[in-house]
Symmetry: C2
Subunit: 147 residues, 2 copies
């Protein structure tokens, strides 16, 4: 059973030290034991939990979603419809975000392609931005997933 300082935990999970403290503060990570001089001491459980959190964040789950997922995995006797549902939702959000970004990419392509070489007066980039009618696809609301 390894005992890790916050710095070691940070290195072994690739999550920054202030972020770990932040996760503790908002209750995503349990309050760890402390040394005599008040330093946090972590164990393998914490490494696994933090890795879980990190992975879920990378997949775009919100902190709240992760909270649910963690509660689920902490009580493994419940059924996991909730987890499936969250994953589904996440997938739908990612897919709509992709679709939206592909539309934006199209428009940016046109802008970059038509780029001007002269004065900004008839700069295509600026003109395209100024005249929304130029763009063919409708833009979508920024998805709740973003970032």
């Amino acid at each position: 059973m390894t005992a890790l300082s916050i710095g070691k935990l940070s290195k072994s999970t690739d999550v920054k030290v202030p972020t770990i403290r932040f996760y503790e503060q908002i209750g995503l990570l349990p309050e760890p034991d402390r040394t005599d001089s008040d330093r946090r001491v972590y164990g393998d459980r914490d490494v696994r939990r933090l890795a879980f959190i990190k992975h879920a964040r990378q997949l775009g789950f919100t902190i709240d979603g992760i909270r649910t997922l963690l509660a689920l995995s902490d009580q493994p006797d419940r059924d996991c419809d909730e987890a499936n549902r969250l994953a589904q939702e996440q997938l739908a959000a990612v897919e709509s975000k992709i679709a939206q970004l592909q539309a934006l990419r199209g428009e940016l392509w046109r802008m970059v392609e038509a780029r001007c070489r002269g004065a900004a007066a008839d700069c295509r980039v600026i003109e395209t931005l100024a005249d929304h009618a130029r763009c063919m696809q409708d833009h979508v609301e920024p998805s709740p997933f973003a970032r």
Copy 2:
């Protein structure tokens, strides 16, 4: 020359009233004239400027990028390398974001596909999240573009 209240401007550009005031506060929109009773009065110029801003935001430009773009379009005698550069950057950011999201989508597909029907104890969703080794692609840093 139409004179618009902030509410009319909001409706005609589909930008919320508080957002318009916020844009004024941070200097993206000029301070408009006021009526005797201190209400903001806008004109066509403002409609165009706000539409420009909205469009650029939808394309993912940051407020700072938009500030540059607006400065460029306000001084049309300058050349527009800067605008081209910004558009290029934006395109690159969007493309990398798409690639990243496609990787995430792949992983979420696998999670959703393998979804369990029993107890959370061996829930694939949770297990996948817990065991990062399961995922084939490396996750990328969230791009600066997101949202």
